[in-house]
Subunit: 193 residues, 2 copies
DNA sequence: CTATATCTGGAATGATTATTCCAAACAATA
DNA sequence: TATTGTTTGGAATAATCATTCCAGATATAG
């Protein structure tokens, strides 16, 4: 019988993800990854395939983590508008508390690879679609419950919210200041009336 | 007397900028740059210093170009609100017409290098400040002329506009669709009332 | 034409890249 | 305890990276 794997796959993914988040795909070398994860080259290639495969695994892992955190934050908020506001307040909070100002792995990856990497392009597109649908659902609820007007379609508002999110993930890197981010959220969410 | 330079510096910068815009800083090699510009390695190093210096030159060149195009678009629009709307309409137009979906060099660079490259970080911060001030000026005018209410400070609205801009530059890469971008602009600019 | 000062092409360098390979280590079964 | 199939560490490889260097090309000034 085979020798068991000694490392925890999720721990490795977490560390690799942190590295990619900080330095980007092209800025991170396999050498960096071995040092950060503590694994040897062989183990890394054996368990995750090549660099690109490992990166895709990190993207999925990151996506699941973010999605999980978000749904947990809004889990017991009945009002859809309050849900949206809580989500953005939480986002700004995470940005300020992390202190790293690395942005979002998916947003950064969009900027770095979306036009040159087909697999990444597809992932990013699917991700956009998922978030758009989540937001659309929330806005639809809000309109049905009369919390906000029906001036705009749920989709249009959802897309604006998505755009505000990705914008914040860039803005946090170009001007990591609480007032700056608070201003953005305050004005952007003022459309929810 | 020395032999004159045979190539046009601006042409070289334009081609290098296009390459960096498409593949990012780390994704672009000096070999790529020699092929795209037609210059030899020596000429490139002689005229622009190392890769990083050339990149910074490209950033400045790109910034000037974008700023020039924007100010030209709004040059003879008296109403500040119409100026803002025209700017965003122009942006979506450029995005759709270019067809390349490469985003904005400065936004992409923010995502790729802002946390690891001090010089880039400073450039990006200054750029953010410039745009914020430009938008703030426009909003201030709009409020003074009574075009929009004084519910929010000019700075807050300007920051939201900035955020919408950088968001669009990511969104165009994750979902390059006219309706998608139009929806974003429509809702985001609805705060100008 | 000659001299000069700079530009230019391409080879050379040394560091770093991703990836492969293999012998040794190892845990679990028989 | 011997065998088995996998993991593991580190060396080896081949490609690519940014950068340097130098001999020859070239345009101007005298």
């Amino acid at each position: 019988m085979p020798k068991e794997v000694l490392f925890d796959e999720e721990t490795v993914l977490k560390k690799a993800t942190a590295l990619f988040l900080n330095k980007g795909y092209n800025g991170t070398s396999m050498d960096d990854l071995t040092k950060a994860t503590g694994l040897s080259r062989s183990s890394l290639y054996n368990s995750f395939g090549d660099k690109h495969s490992l990166f895709m695994r990190c993207l999925v892992y990151y996506q699941a983590g973010e999605h999980g955190a978000l749904t947990e934050v809004v889990s017991n908020i009945a009002s859809p508008v309050k849900r949206i506001k809580a989500a953005f307040r939480y986002l700004v909070d995470v940005i300020l508390k992390s202190g790293t100002r690395n942005g979002c792995l998916i947003v950064n990856t969009t900027a770095e690879l979306a036009t040159v990497d087909k697999e990444v392009c597809e992932f990013v597109f699917r991700n956009t679609d998922i978030i758009e649908h989540l937001f659309t659902q929330w806005v639809k609820e809000a309109q049905q419950q009369g919390e906000i007007s029906k001036t705009f379609t749920p989709t249009a508002i959802a897309r604006h919210l998505f755009n505000t999110y990705v914008g914040l993930r860039i803005s946090e890197q170009s001007n990591p200041d609480k007032k700056f981010l608070d201003d953005i959220v305050k004005v952007a969410l003022s459309v929810l009336v």
